[in-house]
Subunit: 139 residues, 2 copies
DNA sequence: GTTGACCTTCCAGTAAGGGGAGGCCCTAGG
DNA sequence: CCTAGGGCCTCCCCTTACTGGAAGGTCAAC
């Protein structure tokens, strides 16, 4: 199978598949003309990677998950730990975004959004200094 | 004022300040020895940038917000639009993360996390193919 | 035989800086 | 007067996970 077919079957772009080969996630064979030749198992791996990436796992997570997948002596606790750490990263990120959202949404609601220059959003960005300085927001 | 003082006052690392100069967000003067010389207005700008970045605005957003801040003919609607677009990006990102979180959390709960190899997380990553193929998850 | 689709490699770029090398400048202490 | 130290400078590579493009080889069809 050539890379185009694999791309279609796995749902990953050819560029991504080449990249995954470069970083050692898949190891396709080569035919005489230099083209990459993929097995069904490669397609399977790539689909696995695509799904793991879609869940937000890093490439390194994916590498570890694949290794565990290939290891029938694995303990599910190892897999679970990777997933739990990722879940925590996601929760942290969501919390961070929610905090931004709250502040930003508050500012947006306070802004008239008309033709006048007065703007609480800019005022907030300009005025809130770490050392408590009050800066002239009319500038 | 040298870059070290400005870093302390603005809360941004010197590296970041140099980077902001490189991309044209601040334009410090230079003294005879080649050192950057900052004015209070530069510190003000940098603090502004730091807060905008903390709210997740991109550098390009920051550039535009600063331009609006410097323009006393601005309409607050322009500021509000930038903020609203950013708010939408945040909401999209949160939704995406929440979706990941839901799936992942479901899988984590389903995983025993013990010494045995059986793992619903790996099974899910391996089995759900775009074209509906069922792949042997006992491998 | 030639067109066009496919494949190859390599280079460069993304966002927003971080790390570190190699080297100048300036001040304080002995 | 010399040196140690800390601060500053530029320059280059590194990060994540790809994506785009250029230059060129291959293959099947018309």
């Amino acid at each position: 199978m050539n890379i185009g077919d694999v791309a279609e079957k796995s749902g990953l772009p050819p560029k991504t598949i080449r990249y995954y080969e470069e970083i050692g996630l898949v190891k396709p064979l080569r035919s005489a003309n230099g083209y990459r030749t993929f097995l069904d198992s490669d397609v399977h791996k790539l689909a696995f990677l695509g799904r793991a990436r879609a869940l937000g796992f890093t490439i390194e997570d994916c590498r570890n998950l694949m290794a565990l997948y290939d290891d029938d002596q694995r303990a599910s606790s190892e897999v679970k730990e990777i997933a739990e750490q990722h879940l925590e990263r996601i929760d942290n990120k969501i919390a961070e975004l929610a905090q931004m959202r709250a502040t930003l949404s508050h500012l947006v609601n306070a802004c008239a959004g008309d033709h006048r220059p007065d703007c609480p959003i800019l005022a907030d960005l300009a005025a809130t200094c770490p050392d408590g300085d009050l800066i002239d927001t009319t500038a």
